[in-house]
Symmetry: C2
Subunit: 341 residues, 2 copies
């Protein structure tokens, strides 16, 4: 168990390191007004904190820097009263200067604002379009063989894809198919369309359509979805201005990581509500080992539908950033729910 003094020193040291990005030594700490002990005393405490794994040295005679465990502890136990945020106003105002009609614009703006405000890299993981409910679908022929299938969701999102029409399919069947789908499946989530058809509509189809066999194959093609979450970025190159990434060989993997869709999706997806913090290796990827990811979820009708995240060095301004993300995600939630009156 840590003593009060150790807690205090740990907190002050991490604050200082976050601010100046330089190993902090006993002398520096003892000079502070609020610390009355001599450097020697502090050195003893620092040595203890190092033994406990909260601090590290960069070389034998250097000052201390926080370890991953140190940051973890700092975030979990030493962040004072973060939710009294003076930021709330700021973000809300910034977001409202841009009057936003469509969700996509909102996401894009939010990412931009967040990265501008923090000088880190931000990512908004958009809602999975496939979780939206079908409002209307349609198939529009382009030629004898090709057509475009269009799915409009209740949120106004439009999914579309080009499909090959088997020439054996009857035009009248196609039309009936679309009608049946619109009548029976409005309000069903896109991902579920296929299973619902399997469960409920095979009979109907067999009854109304001349060549069900063919249509069935076609349906599989039509309703085979690939992932559809969209990523919105802000400040992609902000990493380059972080002193710990002054080195090209360190940034490169990072920037590559940012450009890799799968990895980013995984990094930024979260099932948890509210704000979460992942530090360094907790992110489970080599390229992210010196980064922290702060994740906040936004909701619609109370349901978690996406996240807004911030990626920066492990030495992040956690206090500022966490409160910022908290209020920004709440503001996004507000806006989103206002869209649908």
């Amino acid at each position: 168990m840590l003593t009060e003094r150790q807690l205090y020193i740990l907190r002050v040291l991490i604050d200082d390191y976050i601010k100046h990005v330089e190993p902090v030594g006993s002398r520096t700490l003892s000079k502070r007004e609020d610390i009355t002990y001599s450097p020697a005393t502090i050195r003893n405490e620092l040595a203890d904190l190092e033994d406990l794994g909260f601090l590290e040295k960069t070389h034998t005679s250097s000052g201390r820097i926080p370890s991953e465990k140190g940051y973890r502890f700092y975030v979990d136990h030493l962040l004072p009263s973060i939710f009294v945020s003076p930021n709330e106003m700021e973000t809300t105002e910034l977001l409202s200067t841009a009057k936003v009609q469509e969700a996509e614009v909102l996401f894009d703006q939010s990412a931009k604002i967040l990265s501008d405000l923090t000088n880190y890299t931000s990512v908004v993981l958009g809602p999975n379009a496939l979780d939206m409910k079908l409002r209307h679908m349609q198939i529009i022929p382009l030629s004898s063989q090709m057509a475009v299938a269009i799915f409009v969701t209740n949120t106004g999102h439009v999914e579309n894809r080009q499909i090959v029409l088997p020439n054996s399919i009857e035009p009248s069947d196609l039309e009936k198919l679309v009608n049946i789908l619109n009548e029976r499946l409005a309000g069903v989530r896109l991902v579920e369309l296929n299973s619902r058809i399997q469960m409920e509509l095979t009979a109907v189809f067999k009854k109304h359509l001349k060549d069900y066999q063919n249509v069935s194959v076609f349906l599989d093609q039509l309703l085979l979805w690939s992932k559809k979450e969209k990523l919105f970025y802000g400040g992609k190159t902000n990493m380059l201005s972080q002193p710990e990434f002054r080195d090209l060989d360190k940034v490169r993997p990072l920037l590559d990581f940012l450009e890799t869709r799968d990895l980013m999706e995984k990094l930024v997806s979260s099932t948890e509500e509210g704000v979460t913090v992942k530090i360094g290796t907790e992110n489970q990827h080599e390229a992210m080992k010196d980064c922290s990811v702060i994740n906040a979820s936004y909701t619609m009708h109370g349901k978690h539908i996406g996240t807004i995240s911030l990626i920066g060095p492990t030495r992040m301004e956690y206090r500022k950033v966490i409160s910022l993300l908290d209020s920004l995600s709440k503001e996004m939630t507000n806006r989103l729910n206002n869209f649908s009156e």
Copy 2:
């Protein structure tokens, strides 16, 4: 006028510099088998070439590097027989391993292949969807006030946007409006829709619609397009592995430039057919002053609709790259025209 020997030396020097990225001196040149003169002679020639502006020195006692003017001359006059390319096969094969259905995928793949093959950054400027012809349009209501407007083009591209329905508009008018638009304006380019309406359809509307005044305002909102060319990137971070951009302060502006839509669009747009080369300051932007941009256009039905470009250091492997872009753009043209049978 340059002598044969000067031409030869210039060419060899630039070749060498492109390969080794190190200033080239007289000794290096004189050691080559195909050069019989002594270093002293070559020094005299180099001094002349420098006086003419084709070469530069990095410091008083360094070897020479090509100047911008030098590269320009090299590209215009010293590139031997570039269009006998052994690359053609390679690219075609690579592109065909991925069987491509939709144009967007083709663009994306092409950009990826190009950047992989060259280790530079590539960009495909997609066709302007607004130049495509209307196949079908539709308005799908979401709520009493909001709706989604959908435009399908002859190429199978789908444009959609959310619109606000003025509550004063009559539902029957809306339906008629859509019908008239589909009947009268199929085959018209999206950009032209509005002017065609002004020219030809006001009378028709006035006749069929109850409240034309209202509809007119609505139409303006509906058909107010913003730019719609899409950019597809490959190898965004490849710049980082170019030795001339080992310096963070040099890459940063570059990467920022790459992320800025407007600038990139401008950089990469080209009205010229075929392959063009812009070197350094010819690109009209500070961030691009040490880069060259190779631009190739692809066409559809003989009409220039977009470009595929490569961005690299001025010291680029022009020979390889130009032939590569030439064949790749031709291959893209082929594919595109095969889409529409």
